[in-house]
Subunit: 335 residues, 2 copies
Amino acid sequence: MTVSVRDVAAAASVSVGTVSNVLNRPEKVAPSTVARVTAAIEELGFVRNDAARQLRAGHSRSIGLVVLDVRNPFFTDVARGAEDRAAEEGMTILLGNSDENTDRERAYLDLFEEQRVAGVLISPLADDLPRLQRLRDRGTTVVLVDREVPDQSFSSVAVDDVVGGYLAVRHLLDTGRRRIAFIGGPASIRQVADRLEGARRAVAETDDAALEVVATESLSVLAGRAAGEGVRERAASDRPDAVFAANDLLAMGVLQALMMQGGIDVPGEIALIGYDDIDFASAAVVPLSSIRQPAELIGYTAVDLMLKEANGESVQERVLFQPELVVRESTSARS
Amino acid sequence: MTVSVRDVAAAASVSVGTVSNVLNRPEKVAPSTVARVTAAIEELGFVRNDAARQLRAGHSRSIGLVVLDVRNPFFTDVARGAEDRAAEEGMTILLGNSDENTDRERAYLDLFEEQRVAGVLISPLADDLPRLQRLRDRGTTVVLVDREVPDQSFSSVAVDDVVGGYLAVRHLLDTGRRRIAFIGGPASIRQVADRLEGARRAVAETDDAALEVVATESLSVLAGRAAGEGVRERAASDRPDAVFAANDLLAMGVLQALMMQGGIDVPGEIALIGYDDIDFASAAVVPLSSIRQPAELIGYTAVDLMLKEANGESVQERVLFQPELVVRESTSARS
DNA sequence: CCACGTGGTTGAATCGTTTTAATGCGTACG
DNA sequence: CGTACGCATTAAAACGATTCAACCACGTGG
C-alpha cells in the first residue's frame, strides 16, 4: 500500500542508501542520480515515514508544550511565540492543555515522553515537581514556563508576578481605593499566589488599606462571573471599592456580573484591574486596566532555552521578564 | 541510556514478547509474570517508544487538525470538542494553525502525512482541493471542517453559513436598518463568501435595503479595527446604519474603532452584529449580537466521522448544523 | 605501470516494538 | 499409556529510514 524508500530505490535502480542520501544530503549525490531519484519519488508519491526516522534518530523533532488553559489568549500567544522559534529549527510544537487538572497534566507528560520529544515546556500545575525531576533524569530537557523553582534545578522563563501584583494594587491605592478585594484561585497555582503576595505588599505600605481574598475554583470567565455575583449580592457598605482579578478572564467575568441588569458602576463604585492584558481586555464593556506580560516572547525564549540546554550549550538558565501596568477606564478616578 | 523492552525482559527473565504482552494484553499473561514484569518496568523506569510502535502499527494514534486561526476562540472550541472525542479512543489531536496562509496549511498537511496520522480534519483555506484529494488517495482519511465541497467527495461537518448570514441581516432589517455594510474577507474563504451570500438574500427581500461590502485582509481584531476606522472617517451621511461582520473578532475590532474617542454610537447610530458568538462577545463594550455555532460539537462530530470512515463503517457522510441568532445590545432598536 | 586518492554508490546493520508461528509442559481423556 | 489440548511463553520476523564501512571505477602523480 504505502511506498517506501525501497520502492523508490527499485524504481530509480539505485540502492536505498542513495535514496536516503538524496533526501538528506543531496550534495553528496551525482546530479543525474538526484534527478532520477527525485523523479521516482514524484512518480510514486513517496512520503517519508516519520516514525521510522524518529526510531533511528532516537528522538523526535517536536517539542511538547503543556499549558494551563488553551482558552486563555495569554497561553495561545505563548504557544505562537514557541511555534515561531521552533519553526526556525524546522521543529514543531505539540500543544497539550492541562485545564488546571493534575491528571491531564500527567497524561500529557507521559504522552510526550513516549513520543521522545526533544524537550518539554510546561507551565506546571501544583507541585508535581518529582514527576518533572524524573522526566529530566531520564534525559528529557525540561523548561518551566511562567514558573520558577526555588532549588534552581530547572531552566525557566517567567515574569515577576510579585511585582505584577504589586503594580496592580499600588495603582488601585494611588487612585484612592482602600478596600481591595483579590479575586483568584486556586492558590496552589504559583502565579495566583505570587500576584496575591505582591498585592499584600502594596497594601501593607498603606496604613488604612485592607485586602480581602475571594477564592475561585479556576481562572476562567465563568469562575469570575460567580465571584462577581457574590460581590454584587452584598450590602453596598460591605463591598470592596476595588477588585484585583488574578487574570483577565476572571476580570471579564467579574465585570459581567457586576454590571448585570443595572448593577454596580465600574469604575464609579468599584474599580477593576486584571492581569495578562489579553487582546479582548481593551474591548470590554469598560475597557480593562491590566498588567501586561510579553506572552509571545516568553514562548519564544522558552524554546530557545530548551534548545540551548539540549545542545549542551548551557545548563539551567533562568530568564525573568518584568510586567507592565496598562491603565484603562476600569480604574479611572471616581467622577 | 534509554531502557527498552529488551532490558525489561532481561531484568524480569522473560522474553521481549512477554513484556509486550504484559503491556498490551495483560490478561493473556500469568498473574505472577505480570507482577514480575511490572516490577521490572517500574524499577528500570521503562517508557515505551512511540516511534517504534507506530512504525510497526503503520499509523499513529494522532489526528491532525488544521484550523485557520488559533487565536479565534471559535477554533479553540472546535479543537476542544475534537480532543474530547479523540480522548475517548485514547487518541490525540495535533493542532496546526494555518493562519489563513496557504504555505503554512500545506506545510502542516505534509507534516501530518509524514506522521502517518490516523486522519486529517481541516478547515481548508482556498481551493487547494487537489492537494487534499491526493492526500486522501494515498490513504489518509480527510474530513472537512466547516466547509462543504460541491462534488461531495469528502466527508464534512459544517454549519449552514448562508442561513447564518441571512439570519444576521434579516435581524438588522427587522430592527429597521436599511443601509447594511458587510465587513469581511478574504472572499476566498468559503465561510466569508457564504455569509455574504446569506446577507445578499436577506437584502434582496427588502425593497429599500442596500448592501455594501467592505473587504478585509483577514478575520482578526486588527483587520476589524482598520475597517471600522474607514467607516468612522466617512461623512455621517455616507455611513451605513448597520454592520454585519463576518466573525466576532472582526466585530470587536470594528466596535473598538467606531467608539474610539467619542466616536459613533453603537447601536444608536450604527447597529453591529458578529458571527460565532465567542465567550468574549457578551463582555464587549456593547454586548455583541452574534450568530451562534455549536463549535465543540463540530469538533466532536468531525473526529467521529473520521473514525467511522477510517473503520470503513461509512463512506462520506456530510453533517450540517444550523446556526442560531443571539440578540444583545449592539443591535437594539434606536432609542 | 602501479599505488593512491576521490567522488559515488552500495548493502548490511540498526533503532524498539509488535506479532505470529512454534514450543514446552502439564493435564485430561479415550 | 498415548494422544490431544490448553495455557504460558518464546524466538524470530517484520515495520521503514538512516548510517557507515566497504567498494568500485577512474584518474593522476610518482
